[in-house]
Structures are given as structure tokens and as C-alpha cells.
Symmetry: C2
Subunit: 189 residues, 2 copies
């Protein structure tokens, strides 16, 4: 996981020619962009995908306790910014390895959660653990498998994680796991 | 729709301070990034979401014939780069308005297609047209409703569009439209 926020606050110079940029509406466009005053390059800014997993072992799910901000010390599902050159599923699998040293099989798209005010889309895959084998990566304080009744609901790091867990326990009653879409309008813990 | 490709080729200067950037592995990271030689800002590059729709009116679907490159003159579903501040569904609805002057209701997530070699994820929503009302936007030469037997399969602009249409006509036989995931490994028309 890395911060993709940096760009949004500090786009002052053209990454192509080094000249100053200003905010204006380019020809043929209908919204303000960062445009280079020198070479006219338009520097678009677009939402990022956060790819994650819901690791399942028998009747338990795996959570990681965060060793980094934001939400240090809170519990989360493995997730992070998708990288160029990988698929969403590969991103989710990579984050699961990095944060929890867990290998998943039979991964299935499960939730897609829009968070427009921070320009992010969370995409979670359900994944099965063949063995109860896991350990904390450098971004995790600890990693544990939880029964539903033991989930630390008041200590979940992000609303997208809580939504995904709630869908899962509800859908598990029927054994049907259709893809769920959700919207988070502002950040709440 | 705009080109988000520009950044990938031409990241030479720091958008924060204007100094030169070089490609190196930042501390605590495991891959090469563009890092500023002056202020050490890391300039991450991440996949973009292309949000689109499959507009349906009775037993027909709407396609647009492209007035722009790439694939000028070929038929496509309305789609384009998702913008900051909107949801995936809002992006798909906006593109449908921009390219075909069509209003959709009852939109449902339908396909998510990874295209890792161009750092894109296509996300298509099925949407219903209350009326057969549409017209070409500036990026379209013409817009038409097609019966399945009239789809110009050999003139479809992008593999992601062809996949989405094929899923739709197959799923329509049963009336069940589960979310479909796909992977495109390299560009083919």
C-alpha cells in the first residue's frame, strides 16, 4: 500500500517539460484540469483502485491489525493500491501476501465500493485459504482468523472493510455470494 | 473520454517542485518508481478505470460509432475514463450522456474486465432506456439500437465491448445477469 494522495495536493509543475501548470478547462473539455503553461500537456487525475481480499479458512475469516496510519492499531482486510501491470485479482493476492503472508485460491470478485470523495474504488475478492498459515507482514501488527462472533466490530479500520464483512456473514447463511456494490459518502469509522 | 496515457511516457520532472525525477526503488518499497531527485516525492502511477454502459431498450442494445481514434469508425458501447469525485455508475451514466445523449435507469454492475498491459480496468453497467431516445455526441459518428442478429461483430472497436455484448446475449437467454469478470491479455480487434 502506498499513498496516491500526494499528486492531488501538489501538482504545480509539468512532469513532461518542468514548466508551471495552471488550472483551466482545455479545449474540447468541460472541466478544470492541470494544464502546462509551456507545452499544453494536460495532466489528468483519476480515481485509484484499492484491491483487497476476504481470506476464508473453514468458518473463520482473516483480519490484519494495522501497523501503519491511517487507522494504526485497527483491524482490516488485506488491501492496497492496485499497481500498473497487474489485474485486480493479482493486486488483491499480492496485498494478501504482503500484509498477512497468506496464499489464496478460488478467488472470486465480491464487493465493489465507490468512495468518490477520496477518489477511490475498493474491489474485494473472496479467497480460500488451503491451510491456516499466515503471519504479519511489515504493515501489520498481528494477523488472526476470527469466528463471526469474535469480529472486533468497533475496531475495524475502514467502512469498506466493515461492509464487506457484513455482506459476507449475511450471504454465508444462504451460501450464495453475488457481487455486491456499495457507496461510501464520507469517511466514518 | 480523455487520454490518461500521457503521464506514463513523459514523467521527467517533479510535479511538486519542478526538479528532475529518476527511476529508483524508494525506501521500504519493492519496485521502481519515479522519485524526485530534489524533494524525494514519489510519483506513483496506477491503473485507470474505464466506466461504461450497455444501454438496453426492449430487445435491442445501443452502440455508438466512434468519431475519434483509436478505432475511428468502429462500434462501441459508451465508455470513458472515470473522473475524480464520481462513482463508477455516475461515470458510466455520464459517458452514456456524452457519447449518445441517452439516459439510463436501473443500472446494474455487469462486467469487470482487466487489461493489465495498458493499465486499465473496464467496468460496465447494464442500464435500461425508458424511451428509444438518443443521438450522437461529439465523439460519435452515429448511434443506433441493434437487435442481436444485426450486431456488427467484425466492426466492434474493443475486445472489452465484444466480451460484454457476448455475455449479455448469452445471459439474456436465462434472464440472469451475474457480474462477469474477464481478462484481456493483449490488444486485438
Amino acid at each position: 500500500m502506498h499513498s496516491a494522495y500526494i499528486e492531488f495536493a501538489t501538482l504545480k509543475y509539468c512532469s513532461s517539460c518542468g514548466d508551471a501548470v495552471s488550472k483551466r478547462i482545455p479545449d474540447g473539455d468541460d472541466r478544470h484540469r492541470h494544464v502546462c503553461d509551456g507545452c499544453d500537456t494536460v495532466h489528468y487525475q483519476n480515481p485509484c483502485i484499492v484491491a483487497g481480499s476476504l481470506p476464508v479458512y473453514e468458518n473463520r475469516v482473516l483480519l490484519c491489525r494495522r501497523a501503519i496510519e491511517p487507522a494504526y492499531g485497527y483491524w482490516t482486510l488485506p488491501a492496497g493500491f492496485m499497481e500498473n501491470g497487474e489485474t485486480t485479482e493479482e493486486g488483491a493476492a499480492r496485498e494478501s501476501r504482503e500484509e498477512a503472508n497468506v496464499e489464496l485460491h478460488s478467488m472470486e470478485l465480491y464487493t465493489m465500493i465507490d468512495i468518490p470523495h477520496i477518489n477511490q474504488v475498493y474491489i474485494f475478492f473472496r479467497g480460500q485459504m488451503a491451510q491456516p498459515t499466515y503471519s504479519p507482514g511489515i504493515e501489520s501488527l498481528e494477523v488472526e482468523l476470527f469466528l463471526e462472533e469474535d469480529i472486533p466490530w468497533s475496531e475495524i479500520a475502514f467502512p469498506s472493510v466493515k461492509m464487506t464483512l457484513k455482506h459476507f456473514f449475511e450471504d454465508r447463511k444462504t451460501g450464495n455470494f453475488p457481487v455486491r456494490t456499495d457507496l461510501i459518502k464520507r469517511f466514518r469509522r
